[in-house]
Symmetry: D2
Subunit: 336 residues, 4 copies
């Protein structure tokens, strides 16, 4: 940690900061510049709220030097983590495609979608049984019944399934049925839920929060790893910006930023990222080209009647076209 | 709902949209403009995902006409809701001040703070026993022990207490001890938690999410009201923007926007809103001047040693100065 | 235009709005819903400030139906515009690469860079002679001398040159030397400069403003077209968001959004978009995969000594690697 | 400047950074921490693009220590600057109110407005003769004719006048007529225009850019001071955020942030800041309560027919009510 003093800080101010740092277990190292003094504090990273030293007289700002995450960082574990979801490996070089409807609506809808996305080449089936909805009057999901339809769709197609948990009390139930548990954007900082999925023994798909920084997102993953689970896939799904021509703004540069800083795989969800089905295929291509480990796409047999996120869902034909496009880019990326 | 067709939409496209709307229970009313056709859809507001009609050929955009909230809106209940927290009323014209530390750290800290803020004129005591922290390595709160210290501080000072719940499983415990349950910014769209506090029989302090729109914030309150609880106070606590000179950007115009659209009281938290203790008093004055029903402020006997949010906490003397400033503006606002 | 009335609007309020609309040359068409009345206004799109009708009693909101741009829109001109810069065509299907230093620093630097980027396969040479800098103490460019170095680099390599104009008084001078005039992000709404380059007889590279919506960006292009110049290339260069791990957030979905709404070519600048040289190549690949008509990249023989934007500049070897990657993706995109 | 090295940086990497810093005229001071090495660089602040050192191997990040502005900062000039506009002083303790229409439309409109705002207690008259408009088809202002109407309104009422310049070529003309020259939000980084008004011999009203940080805003003021003019008033006018219930989000905390860091006066424009006339008076009260040196408000005799910004303009009666409210808060602020 670096403490920058104001130009008008007195010797006494500097001395008091040094003393407090020593009390807190740091060794200090003071640099007297022409206009400002800077105090380097070396030592124990576990001290919790060091930023409070900024309230001492003469302190202008605090600059942290260490990254706040440990377990998810590349510094301690340089090699990439492979996440195994059923018989599928994410992070191993192959571009993994997760597809399915926003919400599980019926057994027929799930089976029709699952067969079609399997035929088109998808690797994992998605579908929401517990739906976090902005409105209490919107469809909230079929809950346990939805989980059973997912299980049936897996039985028929062999595709592993991923579905969201929204309440710590449901994690056990979801873990019993699903091959991977999704944590949605709105729950990225639901820390109790993160701890619960950290102990559930299933891989986790952790979506980036609506307006989360990459660092906060990695800290959310740190909660899960700290609870004992390193089988985590990060999912960029667009961030909130002032632009209104899309539902969110997909931050594709977050993919290489995550890869530089973390060993965890990272995929992209262009459906939520854009909110507009026509943009899903171009952004899926771009996600593969930027180096993502996979993409997640919403697919519905009849988007115009979908109970959730119809505007951003591909129909079955358009999903097949997306797969062809994605494979073309993936092949180019894999070429020497 | 208004459906705007593209300039190149055909008669057949228009007919198909009209038919779908009729199937969904709407009456349609089509206006043929010089370049574009617009279809008004009148009827059942409960249809869930009407926006999916945008996937039909020839549709350019959908414009909702009705507000998505009902119970929290002014249209059905024009008169202001009074929220009673212990012997304090929020929304009744008096500016209510809630003060206390970010986190409950010890009985001594709570008692010293409680006595000081009471002496300075605060109305309600705050303090976090369950802390949602970005890092798993940061202090997570004293939990039930913290609740007991709050209860003791209430016994000594007579101030009602507000504290946060972060897990649906803890709501009952918090409700037993506290006079008001806080829902933090990171949990504003933790819908299960919202439903739980909607049934807990205690008033709720609902903070605006980190990057929530006013409409999403009101929809979160709608979840609580829909579960049976109308004793809700909204709390503006700054939104996430690109500006880095403050922790968040306080959106004071949200106060009159909420008051125009909802009957619920709304207060402002300038501590989280700015993240910098020197800005808390000027922003508290501004909050009162814009017409807020109260302010919530973080106060700590020794901010430089606080386990949480020290940089934004006032010490006891500065809180007394804030109270004097706030009262000056409140008196001016009350003058004819 | 659609005028939405409040639920409490009276017959008299509605009548007054209808009258005002008729006075302003509109035909009105009123739909009486169950709770709200909606008035469709059909007619003259040239009326300037129709939104002012919102100040009339009983009006809740105004919904524009027509797009505010005409000349740059696809509705009147569906086929793509080809922009010719020297012997290079942008928008014709081939991915065009523009490369060169942020600032022209010396003749040697320009010649070394120009030869290297030409050898690697770049199509157009960039370099700033007039630099808009946040600080008055930063290097402001070599101005006319810089233009001459660019001209010499073109003579030696045959590459057409693009350089920025920052003042209406310099447009003529820049137009005499350059093959294409760049309008920088900070000047996207410098309307006098837009009008001047609209009349300068050279193609224009129009960067998106720091926090401009796609619509505002297209409106800036509309100024240029309205002044008589349709040779415009749009350049996405990242937008301002709360995320700090990159300098800006590249909004790649803006590329297909622009292509849906406008006939103008659109390219991407991953150098300014990310601000970090390591991210430039992955984002250049993604830009090609999303369907951009080209990319613009900053290249410097020795980034660590660059007078401007060193952190985001590629050195000559890394630029050659970028070209190979970009060509791989471009080939995949062109495959059937 | 502090250079933070990565954990894997070698001795050789560190040595190379130290050498480069010494070459650039810095003295270095290296701190070897447990995991990372940090190099303090002391010396010449004028070196331009030091951040380029980040491209050297083993460098993780660069932390600037010095503020980038000098002349506008409090560090060199602690006492507040008084700005004199005709017979009015801004920054001297009295809350100054600037009022008038968005655009000068006619002599009658200007005279009626000027007399009314003077009668209500305004101190300075505003009105746009050169209008920067998003659309080339919107009213662009009466230009020189508009300046003459402003001069006539000043003659009749005695109010000094402020009006915008949008082109370096017009600055001399505007300076001849106006008492203060406004630089609009879209031109905050039109550096040539800033230099021109820095030499024009008239006070300058510098609006914050649409998405400018406080630091960039102060750097824009630095351009004007560097050109020889210290008579600058900063104007907060709302920043761009994701929230859509208002046109912009007024960042009132920017007022005390500016006052902490700069000696220049700062006022608030709640009309552009909110875009909604009903919010103007509450936000004007809040601006005064936060400590602003003044407010600027749009006033029009008949907002529903205004050629520009009608939705956010107060009519004459509502402006008189605003003045009473503002004076109430100003009196409370001035009370001991």
């Amino acid at each position: 940690m670096i403490v920058v003093m104001t130009p008008s800080a007195t010797r006494e101010d500097i001395r008091r900061v040094e003393e407090r740092l020593v009390e807190l277990g740091f060794k200090t190292h003071t640099i007297y510049g022409q206009e400002k003094t800077v105090i380097g504090a070396i030592g124990d990273k576990k001290v919790l709220s060091m930023e409070a030293i900024i309230t001492l007289p003469g302190v202008e700002k605090i600059v942290p030097i260490m990254k706040p995450y440990k377990r998810v960082g590349r510094e301690l574990k340089p090699e990439k983590t492979l996440v195994r979801v059923g018989n599928v490996t994410i992070g191993g070089g192959e571009v993994v495609v997760i597809a399915g409807p926003c919400a599980v609506e019926s057994l027929d809808q799930m089976l029709e979608t699952a067969k079609a996305v399997k035929a088109a080449g998808a690797h994992i089936l998605r579908g929401g049984a517990f739906k976090p909805r902005t409105s209490p009057y919107a469809f909230q999901g079929l809950e346990e019944e939805g989980l059973q339809y997912l299980v049936e769709a897996r039985r028929v197609t062999g595709l592993p399934i991923v579905t969201e948990a929204v309440d710590p009390r449901d994690v056990e139930l979801v873990a019993e049925h699903a091959d991977m548990i999704q944590i949605g954007a709105r729950n990225m900082q639901n820390f109790r839920l993160l701890k619960e999925v950290g102990m559930a023994g299933k891989p986790v798909l952790l979506k980036r929060g609506l307006a989360a920084t990459v660092e906060e997102w990695l800290m959310a993953a740190e909660y899960i790893m700290d609870a004992g689970n390193d089988q985590i896939v990060l999912c960029e799904r667009g961030i909130r910006t002032y632009e209104t021509s899309t539902r969110n703004t997909v931050d594709l540069s977050a993919v290489p930023v995550v890869q530089e800083n973390s060993h965890l795989p990272v995929i992209v969800d262009p459906s939520h990222g854009t909110g507009i089905w026509k943009l899903v295929t171009p952004m899926a291509r771009a996600a593969v080209a930027v180096g993502a480990d996979g993409v997640m796409v919403e697919v519905h047999p009849d988007p115009a009647t979908a109970l959730c996120d119809g505007p951003q869902s591909l129909n079955l034909e358009n999903f097949a076209l997306l797969m062809a496009e994605v494979q073309k880019i993936a092949a180019a990326m894999a070429a020497p």
